[in-house]
């Protein structure tokens, strides 16, 4: 029996997500990513003497929206607190956050792993400000001769979403994270661009003997910034803790850090060395009172969430798989819905959206939002196909042409003369010619060799450069030969 069979993993996550408001949480500076160092700053986010914070109401709107999408209760009364610790990236040497009265409480979301559905509880979600960014001349702050600080990010609004310790496996953790990010993107409270650090994860992991109901000692690994880091970090941490337990030792409760290069977690500080954050209510801000009307006004702006959307698409005849793929990202689902308005056959549309359209985007590394082919144009293309103006095969090449030129499908079809030949008279003339040129095949067919008809159809298509209506060709050919 392996180590993994003797222990059960228990995991809870803290996810810090940047809210994509235009301005910072306590001042009017832009939240735009990048920018020359220390150009998106003012006395407030630089923590200059005498400067005071003013809460950006839009941040509250976003937090309420995220909270509602995550099935949370929105607290009528919440407040901000100061979390005190010294670090050069923190301009006031305290972070304005929410401690005991967060804006969102008691929520959760449903995940599905191997066909099993499971509810993962969300304890709370609270608003806070991001810190600046340290730029070291060397590897770390302690080994560098020189470090500089960029406060462009200081004061960018964050929502910290804390889960219950409800996850028991890495697939569950990844399913939770994917679902969470999906909901945040859907509600458009965050663009969740992990490469820009707009989502960061703290992972709490502990092991316990299978069958045990008490929690083992946990470690918290901070500041992971991708799903793959989360997965690797957890694999490492589970193995490490199992080794400790197998050796009869105790896991030490501590904060750890993930070394991406070496693929290991390293101890940052033990429980004894843990910061005493000396939280106390932020005296420069008044408590936040959110009445029901405010919450209901935000609720009205909530988009259809992924689960509801999937159910709706399934009702239109899509398979579970198709509906899941299309609703994975809001942009694709929105594209699908927009195209559906102009072309009613959901199933055919789904095949095209998931197939040729997605392939084109992927090949060109293009985001759905930036697609040169609009949803309307795709709908028009499929309608042309349905009307018999073009064949499915031609439609694929028209789509590529649309992608390259941005032109409407009917214009491309006209310009390139790609319309199908559905004129019986014209087709009969061509069929006669082909039959006359291939007597052997005609004989073979009549002798019972059904395969010969395929050859003849191919010759007719060749003669029409693929523009002959294949259904009609088949029908006319059979009539001629019978």
């Amino acid at each position: 029996m392996g180590v993994a069979d003797r222990y059960e993993m228990v995991c809870g996550l803290e996810v810090h997500v940047e809210l994509q408001t235009k301005t910072k949480i306590f001042c009017g500076c832009t939240t735009e990513f990048g920018g020359e160092q220390n150009t998106h700053v003012c006395p407030v986010c630089l923590g200059m003497p005498g400067a005071l914070p003013v809460l950006n109401r839009e941040v509250v709107n976003y937090a309420i929206k995220a909270g509602l999408a995550l099935d949370c209760e929105i607290a009528e009364f919440s407040k901000f607190d100061r979390k005190n610790y010294f670090y050069p990236d923190l301009s006031k040497n305290y972070q304005t956050s929410q401690f005991d009265l967060p804006i969102c409480i008691k929520g959760g979301l449903e995940i599905e792993v191997d066909g099993e559905k499971k509810w993962i509880g969300i304890t709370r979600a609270h608003m806070e400000e991001d810190a600046g960014k340290l730029v070291h001349s060397g590897e770390t702050i302690s080994t560098s001769d020189e470090s500089s600080v960029d406060y462009n990010r200081a004061g960018v609004p964050l929502l910290e979403i804390v889960s219950e310790p409800d996850m028991r496996s890495i697939p569950e953790v990844l399913a939770y994270l994917e679902k969470l990010v999906q909901i945040l993107e859907y509600t458009e409270v965050s663009d969740c661009r992990m490469e820009q650090g707009s989502v960061r994860f703290d992972v709490n992991v502990s092991l316990r003997p299978i069958g045990s109901t008490t929690l083992g000692t946990r470690t918290e690994t901070k500041n992971l910034n991708s799903f793959s880091s989360v997965r690797r970090c957890m694999e490492y941490e589970m193995a490490r803790q199992a080794r400790v337990l197998e050796a009869g030792e105790n896991v030490i409760q501590e904060t750890r850090t993930w070394d991406e290069g070496q693929g290991v977690t390293l101890s940052l500080r033990s429980k004894e060395e843990a910061h005493d954050y000396r939280y106390f209510p932020e005296p420069d801000l008044v408590p936040l009172v959110i009445d029901r009307e405010w919450v209901e006004a935000i609720r009205k702006t909530l988009p259809e969430l992924p689960a509801a959307r999937r159910t709706r698409l399934q009702a239109l005849g899509l398979s579970v798989y198709d509906a899941t793929v299309i609703t994975q990202a809001k942009a694709l689902a929105d594209f699908f819905d927009a195209a559906l308005a102009g072309y009613g056959d959901a199933k055919t549309l789904a095949n095209w959206v998931m197939g040729d359209f997605t392939r084109l985007l992927n090949t060109n590394q293009c985001r759905v939002a930036d697609s040169p082919v609009s949803a309307n144009q795709l709908a028009e293309l499929l309608a042309l196909m349905d009307k018999g103006t073009i064949s499915g095969k031609i439609a694929k090449s028209v789509l590529e042409e649309m992608y390259c030129t941005g032109k409407d499908p009917n214009i491309i079809v006209k310009e390139k003369g790609l319309a199908q030949i559905s004129d019986e008279g014209a087709l009969l003339g061509i069929i006669d010619g082909v039959l006359a040129a291939n007597p052997q095949s005609v004989e073979d067919y009549r002798a019972g060799k059904d395969r010969a008809i395929g050859f003849l159809v191919g010759q007719i298509m060749k003669a029409t450069k693929g523009q002959a209506n294949p259904g009609l060709v088949n029908q006319l050919l059979k009539e001629k030969l019978s």
């Binding site: 050069p88 006031k92 600080v149 005493d276 005296p283 420069d284």
Partner: protein, 494 residues
């Protein structure tokens, strides 16, 4: 008498009548500063050129008959914890010795818009922590009534500049008495408005939930004039109050008949100087003679005010002052690494009293002590507020000495911080409750001024002005002037 001795309202009249120009006035104050400030040391920075440029602007406006600001051409000065764009704002600390803010405090902006002339920045206890201005890193400001005595604090420079005619008016800040006590010690009028009436934006924070800016002036009328200009909601300060601002000068009525005045007995406790008590008693008698109804009352939780205040104020200060770490601005010590730099910067950049309060506050907020100290202090604060609420059900204003004693000598209390803290007993409950209080001159004790404190309901500044004005109009205390360098500045009434 010289122009520098006149009140703001008198100066406004002279300016409008073109009997004196703002430039002449500004020069008169600058000369006065040059003459007496080497001894008094009220100023940390004097802005001669800038002040004369501003005065010339005011004179042009007056000459052209343009619409004038509410304090057009009036020379004044600010406590050095209010940010002034392009002008050093030091908080009387080595930490900010070279700090030049790139922005104005809201009060600085409002005074500038009103046409007031900024003469300079005034001395104070470092980061406003103290009751004597002895904690300034730069200078010891002296009491013009007797140079051996402290001017009070922390707004010592602000009180002295008004008392010694070095400015027409000044602004101070009051966290636990820092406007009222020096006003009392120097014989001027000092108002701490309701918390939130004057914006704190650009006021370098000591204790955010207690700090409030207010005017120090020669007369009650001047005080109302200045508050008219600086009060009012500010979107940059989330704790500022949105309210319909009255014209405070409309309440300068020489009549208090039937007004109910309460005398909280706890404010006349063990530490009170009998001569101060006698002086205040005389003041009370004056008000009774003018028709006020006076009765004793009780604010039973007063004895807990000092411990609660020194927990809340130091807790907030420990966090507010964390930003001074040498990274972004201000003093920076050289050290081997970041942590060393932090430690050395703060060890060298802050004075003793500031460090003492940061440590007290850090301790009070520490895990395991929070409930016993900070949280309990907040509960006491609620009880103190309720004491006042109850008293104001019966009374329009409450009255007490502003401080238990007149000014003390240099060094007299600085060796014993606790004794210094205890002398704040009559002023800190007001900050904890967030209500307004004004100190008005109430006579001399052994040649040193004492102040009478009037406390009112939240946003009842106008009632305080009415009582203070009536008292002033029916007494001569405000006409007493200190003698300086053997020179009699003025004698008797105007």
């Amino acid at each position: 008498m010289g122009v520098a001795e006149k009140s703001v309202s008198e100066l406004q009249e002279l300016l409008v009548q073109k009997e004196v120009s703002s430039t002449e006035l500004t020069k008169a104050y600058l000369e006065r500063i040059q003459r007496v400030d080497p001894e008094l040391q009220a100023y940390l920075t004097v802005l001669e050129n800038q002040a004369l440029v501003q005065a010339a602007e005011a004179d042009r406006k007056i000459a052209r008959g343009e619409l004038l600001g509410s304090l057009e051409g009036i020379p004044m000065a600010l406590k050095d914890n209010m940010c002034t764009e392009g002008v050093r704002t030091s908080c009387a600390s080595k930490m900010l010795e070279n700090f030049i803010p790139p922005y104005n405090a809201t009060v600085t902006d409002r005074l500038r818009t009103a046409g007031a002339i900024l003469l300079g920045k005034l001395n104070m206890d470092e980061f406003a922590m103290g009751s004597s201005t002895e904690n300034s890193y730069f200078a010891k400001t002296r009491n013009p009534w007797d140079l051996k005595y402290v001017p009070g604090g922390s707004s010592g420079g602000s009180a002295v500049a008004v008392a010694a005619d070095e400015a027409a008016f000044t602004l101070g800040s009051d966290t636990g008495g820092s406007i009222r006590q020096p006003a009392a010690f120097c014989g001027v009028v000092g108002m701490k408005p309701t918390y939130g009436v004057v914006s704190r934006y650009g006021l370098i924070a000591f204790a955010s939930s207690l700090d409030q800016i207010g005017p120090l002036t020669k007369t009650v009328r001047d005080n109302a004039l200045v508050l008219n200009t600086i009060a009012g909601y500010d979107p940059l300060d989330s704790t500022s109050v949105s309210f319909e601002k009255p014209d405070y000068t409309k309440y300068l009525i020489n009549d208090i008949k039937g007004l109910k005045i309460g005398i909280p007995k706890e404010y006349y406790g063990a530490g009170i100087d009998p001569d101060v008590a006698k002086g205040i008693q005389a003041g009370i008698q004056t008000l009774i003679d003018l028709g006020a109804e006076v009765a004793e009352c009780s604010l039973p939780h007063t004895e807990y005010a000092i411990p609660a205040y020194y927990l809340i104020a130091t807790a907030e200060a420990s966090s507010n002052l964390a930003r001074y770490d040498g990274v972004r601005y201000g003093y920076r010590a050289e050290a081997e690494d970041v942590l060393g730099m932090f430690k050395k910067t703060r060890a060298e950049g802050f004075g003793q009293e500031v460090k003492r309060r940061i440590m007290l506050g850090t301790y009070a907020l520490s895990s395991g002590y929070y409930d016993a100290y900070y949280l309990k202090a907040q509960k006491v604060r609620t009880l103190i507020k309720q004491d006042f609420d109850k008293a104001f059900e019966r009374f329009d204003v409450l009255l007490s000495p502003t401080a238990p004693t007149a000014a003390f000598k240099f060094g007299e209390k600085s060796a014993n911080p606790l004794a210094m803290y205890l002398s704040d007993i009559t002023t800190v409950p007001i900050n904890l409750a967030g209500i307004p209080a004004i100190s008005v001159p109430a006579g001399l004790v052994n040649g040193l001024p004492i102040g009478m404190q009037l406390m009112g309901k939240a946003l009842a500044e106008e009632t305080l002005y009415r009582v203070a004005y009536t008292f002033e109009q029916n007494t001569q205390y405000h006409t007493l002037k200190p003698k300086l360098s053997g020179e009699v500045l003025t004698c008797g009434s105007r």
